[in-house]
Symmetry: C2
Subunit: 229 residues, 2 copies
């Protein structure tokens, strides 16, 4: 059980949680091994789910994630609009599902990949690697990450974020035992927020390299260690 501190209280008793939304990511997040998608999904439902994701991917590739409308996805997939919502809950759920693949790859790299991202390296080094990797990933998928951002109330309860927070808190508890790892993990993750990255790079024109340096510096300060070479 990772990060039992107070995040467990963050899981409200049976959160509505749209049908499957991101799917299995939250299983991974709970520590169980990866399952395939939806436990049991009727044949037609599974087929439509795939068609919807494929259609959405095409539309995003063509017009960008910001311009994606639910009706357009339904039409492109030759499916009723209701089906889209039943499957993915809402727009952000669909976008999140689109991000699910890279999400899971990243989670796997953290849990069982090679160091320093995966286990085996000292925690501060893993923290550094974590930020750099997440930075790269977010920059790659910026439009999707931005469009997929949930409303303010749900933002912090989304499964992928909870996983990253838990991972950070785990590393922080090791790296800085005298700190409030729960709160510090929020601070660190906030630096890697997609909207912030977008603002600093696209709107302010900062080169990604500077963000990377800033992350290393932040980790050094928070853990009260020497700046990385």
């Amino acid at each position: 059980m990772l990060y039992a501190g107070f995040m467990s209280a963050a899981l409200p008793p049976s959160f509505p949680m749209p049908p499957d939304a991101v799917g299995p990511s939250e299983l991974l997040q709970l520590g169980t091994g990866a399952e395939e998608d939806e436990p049991c999904l009727r044949a037609d439902a599974a087929r439509n789910r795939a068609r919807l994701l494929e259609a959405a991917g095409r539309l995003v590739a063509e017009h960008g994630a910001a311009a994606l409308t639910m009706e357009a996805v339904a039409a492109e997939a030759r499916v009723g609009k209701g089906t889209v919502f039943r499957r993915f809950g809402d727009r952000t759920g669909l976008l999140a599902a689109l991000l699910d693949h890279s999400e899971r790859k990243f989670q796997a790299a953290l849990l069982s990949g090679p160091p320093p991202l995966g286990p085996g390296a000292p925690p501060v080094e893993r923290l550094r690697a974590f930020g750099c990797a997440l930075l790269r990933r977010s920059i790659d998928e910026l439009d999707l990450q931005l469009a997929a951002e949930p409303s303010a109330e749900r933002r912090h309860t989304a499964a992928p974020r909870r996983f990253l927070l838990g991972h950070l808190a785990l590393l922080l508890r090791e790296a800085v035992p005298d700190g409030d790892s729960g709160l510090l993990s929020h601070t660190l993750l906030a630096y890697l927020d997609a909207a912030l990255i977008h603002h600093l790079t696209a709107q302010c024109g900062l080169p990604p390299e500077r963000l990377r340096t800033g992350w290393l510096d932040l980790v050094a300060r928070v853990t009260r260690t020497d700046p990385a070479v």
Copy 2:
């Protein structure tokens, strides 16, 4: 000119910027003394603006900021819907205008209030006071702050946020001359984000006192100083 580092590049050439939205806050942010509201506004326009703000305030007080609809505000103020949008640009503009009063009070306290919030105290002490004050204010107006949060693209370009960022960067440049004050200010301000506060207090049940302690600890780490007593 405060925080000329790279934020100036964050102001795109003539950002659309709804009619008046927050109003004079951005003047303050540019360092000029406070003006009253809109430079010149036709009598009927000014009257309707006041009626709209009053109506919106009533509705928010009664049903909460999340339930506020633009049509309801228009109806309550006995005004056409178009008038609301012309005056405030969009929903978040109206909510921001509702927050403008406390915004300006806070800005004034920072610029010319008594220490340690205002000038006269050492920068680290002012940083501590800044967070504690902002924390208190945000907790007081949580529903409004949450409902007023702009979309991901605009979030970081909103005038009030730019002001707070600039102020933080100013203090940081003094308190930690060897750091990237621009980036660090984003990190610090992220800790005070309304959505995060809401998540930690309302959803995770953390007492505000713990957030306060967390802020003092964060300031200490970022500035590499000793934790405050």
